[in-house]
Point group: D2
Chain length 179, copies 4
């Protein structure tokens, strides 16, 4: 019997509501749109700012969106999440967002985003930073997060390139599911 092959899961991480800029919000929208067009599932932290814009970009282009929120109640999620995963474990949910992605795209962001990039780096996921989106995406784009130099953070000049980078890295069937 043929295995069911799940769709690629791409996480979008970055600024929350309070620190999000228009530039980052627009970039996030485009990243969401390109993820939808590529037929991948958008994974995110389910709250505001970059997460909200990316979800909107995906939903307005026929995509599927999963919000993995820190709280244990649905009401905290942004309204563009198709499915809400209520972790209830606070910001430790950053580990789950990163672990649930085949690849990650960073749009701006502060230390919370840096945590997600670090988890992705620890587990050797492909990480792409959107050039010019500000925050930790621009601070760490093109660099290694530690001296082991295992996973460089790639830089993408636009959303289409960012998504393509992740598709290319996952061509060998990494997205196939279990037993």
């Amino acid at each position: 019997m043929l295995k069911h092959v799940r769709k690629l899961q791409i996480a979008v991480i970055g600024y929350n509501t309070d620190s999000c800029t228009d530039i980052a919000s627009n970039a996030a929208y485009e990243v969401g749109r390109e993820i939808a067009r590529a037929g991948a599932v958008l994974i995110c932290g389910g709250l505001g700012g970059v997460m909200d814009s990316a979800c909107r970009g995906a939903k307005e282009n026929g995509g599927t969106t999963i919000g993995i929120i820190p709280q244990d109640e649905f009401s905290y999620a942004n309204q563009h999440c198709d499915v809400v995963v209520c972790t209830g474990i606070g910001y430790a949910r950053d580990f789950i967002v990163a672990s649930s992605a085949d690849g990650i795209i960073a749009v701006g962001g502060g230390v919370g985003t840096l945590i997600e990039m670090s988890v992705a780096s620890m587990t050797k996921k492909t990480i792409v930073a959107m050039a010019g989106s500000g925050g930790v995406a621009d601070m760490y784009g093109g660099k290694f997060l530690d001296e082991r130099h295992t996973v460089p953070i790639a830089i993408a000049k636009d959303a289409k390139t960012a998504v393509k980078t992740i598709l290319a890295a996952n061509k060998n069937g990494k997205s196939q599911t279990g037993a």
Copy 2:
């Protein structure tokens, strides 16, 4: 602007691979099928036994399936999960499965299932136990888990009734999402 209304999320919990019976597996398949027919999203622990059968029942009837697994790698999920959430937090993920559900259906199960029922009880979710499915579903169906008597565990004689019970309890828009 109208809010986007996410679909109802119904969790199916119960026996893992090693302890699952044919009766429980069949019941789980039917529960998955009825969740799909109701247009709800199936949430589960993403592994084998009841989880696998429920996902299969949903997928073969056009449904959507989310597997929230203890591990931090996709490969542990059963092949009928559309989306895999890799928590990496071990069996503490039982909290996330229960918290991410608008209602819960138990099919057989051991102490892990009892934990999920307890979390659902703590957060006052609707819990339905499948009659005759064995394990903790039969041990605790019709009872309260503690002396506070806040949430009784309902008993359903078949899958259609189980799903209907949860739909009825959520009629008042509990499934509407955030800000």
Copy 3:
């Protein structure tokens, strides 16, 4: 070189502030006292009710107390905790309380306590329920939590007996630490 042998870690679980009775509070105090007299470390959820009374009983008898709280800030812990572990993962911290114990003593309690008993049962820890303390301790004392019948919940008529039961079960050096 001789290995450093850590002290036995005994968890006390049960009613939180809002539901704690005088009987349970007194029983918890005595359990804390006996843990201290036995030279073991008291592990608990670090909040009020049974947790507070048990910590007080241990501290007033020269013991050591560890509070593992759901929140990520110290200020939520009761004042009798020597060390506070701020998990920030909400009530999923119940898993950590149970996993960090060589044995567990239940004094009254609701579904939260039942979750901790279930985790302990899943990992085959010794569980003792204080007779007459109310709640899930009396509901489930003397029973198995699921049909696998792996770990029965023992009943103790007083605090000294409860602690002795756990000491006896751990005589074979289970408390020795790693590499």
Copy 4:
């Protein structure tokens, strides 16, 4: 009645066994020793490398050591932990180590250590990096982790200075416990 004032809790983070250098191991030992001499409690991840050396430094100087490990079994902890907290939540336990500290000292380290520094930064804890210890301590010492510039990572030239920096930052009673 006077409140019980818990001791200050200082976390030591850094290289695990596989990447630890002699320089980092020695620095960690001295940091553990100075924490013990200051009468503070040493918090750490409970495993090898910097964690093991710091615990040894504290134990050989009369200190108290708490190991918060990723696994759910005691046997993974190093032998110098007085108390082992078995989280079972994998590397998401990095959040707990950082949240359970009044201040943090970094000795070398890779992305895991960067995660702990980021969590500490997010919650505005005092963070000190040991100069010359390598890894992320040297990469990020003296810098801010994101553009918000809320918490700079201090640099200390020796263990005594590192501990003093944290004591000074906590002089105003931040270590007092709850209700």
